[in-house]
């Protein structure tokens, strides 16, 4: 039953996400593309692109869109996809919400607790590896094209990747602007 699986999967993603929006993208990618195979790497990448450009927390946006896509891809009516979208966002929020109500008070008082600080500093470093793995998983012919099929697309994809990568490292350029510009490049090169 896909709805039960959605609920369970996104509950898990929510409660195990330490480290912000990109860490959550990594967890969602691993669950919905690698483990459950609800969608392709390409569909997931498109979802992240749209989620970056619309308002709201990126984790919520990706969860909503992924919930919708998973249900519709499974062959259900698009209206049930809407249920999937709400269910995924609800599930991703549910456990952290409960935990927050139970623990916020305790955490405020014990901010200096050494054990907690050790756990969090280990998690902060590990999460970098999670995000790197997600980027590796998404660097597929699905997203970059392949040298044998279209050398032009492959080379241009590598060029876009390197340019965007260094621009977002060195200069603080908004991701939205970078996505829009890449879209324009795509339209000009492939569309005309």
């Amino acid at each position: 039953m896909i709805f039960w699986k959605l609920f369970y999967t996104f509950c898990k993603i929510g409660i195990f996400n330490f480290g912000g929006g990109y860490a959550m993208i990594a967890l969602i990618q691993n669950e919905v593309v690698e483990k459950q195979a609800w969608m392709t790497a390409q569909e997931f990448t498109d979802i992240v692109a749209v989620s970056q450009m619309t308002p709201g927390p990126i984790g919520i946006n990706v969860a909503t869109y992924a919930g919708y896509t998973a249900v519709v891809n499974a062959g259900y009516d698009p209206w049930l996809g809407v249920v999937g979208a709400f269910l995924a966002s609800f599930s991703v929020v549910l456990l952290p919400f409960i935990l927050m109500l139970l623990l916020a008070h305790y955490l405020m008082k014990n901010k200096e607790n050494k054990d907690l600080q050790n756990v969090f500093s280990a998690l902060r470093i590990t999460v970098l590896g999670l995000i790197a793995a997600a980027a590796l998983f998404l660097a597929t012919p699905d997203n970059f094209g392949s040298w044998s099929q279209s050398p032009l697309q492959f080379c241009l994809s590598i060029a876009i990747f390197i340019t965007v990568f260094f621009l977002s490292l060195k200069k603080k350029i908004s991701p939205i602007l970078l996505i829009l510009l890449s879209g324009v490049v795509g339209l000009v090169v492939y569309g005309i």
């Binding site: 898990k12 195990f16 912000g20 929006g21 990109y22 959550m24 990594a26 483990k35 990448t45 992240v48 749209v50 970056q52 308002p55 709201g56 927390p57 919520i60 909503t64 869109y65 919708y68 698009p78 996809g81 979208a85 991703v92 929020v93 456990l95 952290p96 919400f97 927050m100 109500l101 916020a104 405020m108 901010k111 050494k114 907690l116 500093s121 280990a122 470093i125 999460v127 970098l128 590896g129 999670l130 790197a132 793995a133 980027a135 998404l138 997203n143 970059f144 994809s157 590598i158 876009i160 990747f161 965007v164 990568f165 908004s174 970078l178 879209g183 795509g186 339209l187 090169v189 492939y190």
Partner: protein
């Protein structure tokens, strides 16, 4: 005192008008809740911010939860969270439904052919931009490298890696304490 609907409305505005993810909401929240409504002091705001960052989940939603709870209890928390995520969910839903029809359009496909490598780069870059804040050094850089390899090459679940890392951090801290106590 903040009314339930007022809370909902404040977070609705914050959720609807921030592009660029949860952290982009911080200045808006501060302006709306601390400066304009004066529901929280600057110190309280910063305390709730650090707790929200430490807790699992979605940062912006954690902020809404903790602030709503602090101001009006459980119902306040629910109202704040609903306000915060309602507009983003509806926006995404509308786009998701429309995008299904345009996906096969040749122009849309060529735009996305350009966008996809950009998105992968946007996911790869935070690994390096976040490294400094995470306290990455030559001594501990094997941790994310090993984590990435286990996930990517061996297909190990990131959730399992998170659990092991958490326990590892706890044990390492305790061992270090003991060593310092004996020397």
């Amino acid at each position: 005192m903040a009314g339930y609907f007022e809370l909902f409305w404040s977070f609705f505005k914050i959720g609807s008008f921030t592009l660029g993810g949860g952290f982009a909401m911080i200045p808006l929240m501060e302006k709306e809740l601390v400066q304009q409504k004066q529901w929280l002091s600057k110190e309280e705001f910063l305390d709730l911010l650090s707790v929200s960052q430490a807790m699992p989940g979605v940062f912006a939603v954690n902020m809404a939860t903790s602030i709503g709870y602090r101001l009006r209890g459980k119902t306040g928390a629910v109202m704040s969270v609903l306000g915060n995520i309602l507009m983003p969910i509806l926006t995404i839903l509308v786009l998701a439904m429309f995008f299904r029809y345009f996906r096969d359009n040749a122009f849309v496909e060529s735009i996305f052919k350009g966008i996809r490598p950009c998105v992968v780069a946007l996911i790869a870059a935070p690994v390096f931009t976040m490294a400094r804040n995470a306290g990455l050094s030559w001594r501990n850089c094997w941790i994310p490298l090993l984590a990435a390899a286990l996930i990517w090459l061996l297909g190990i679940s990131p959730v399992l890696i998170i659990i092991i890392a958490g326990i590892g951090g706890f044990v390492y801290g305790r061992l270090k304490d003991r060593k310092e106590a004996t020397t």
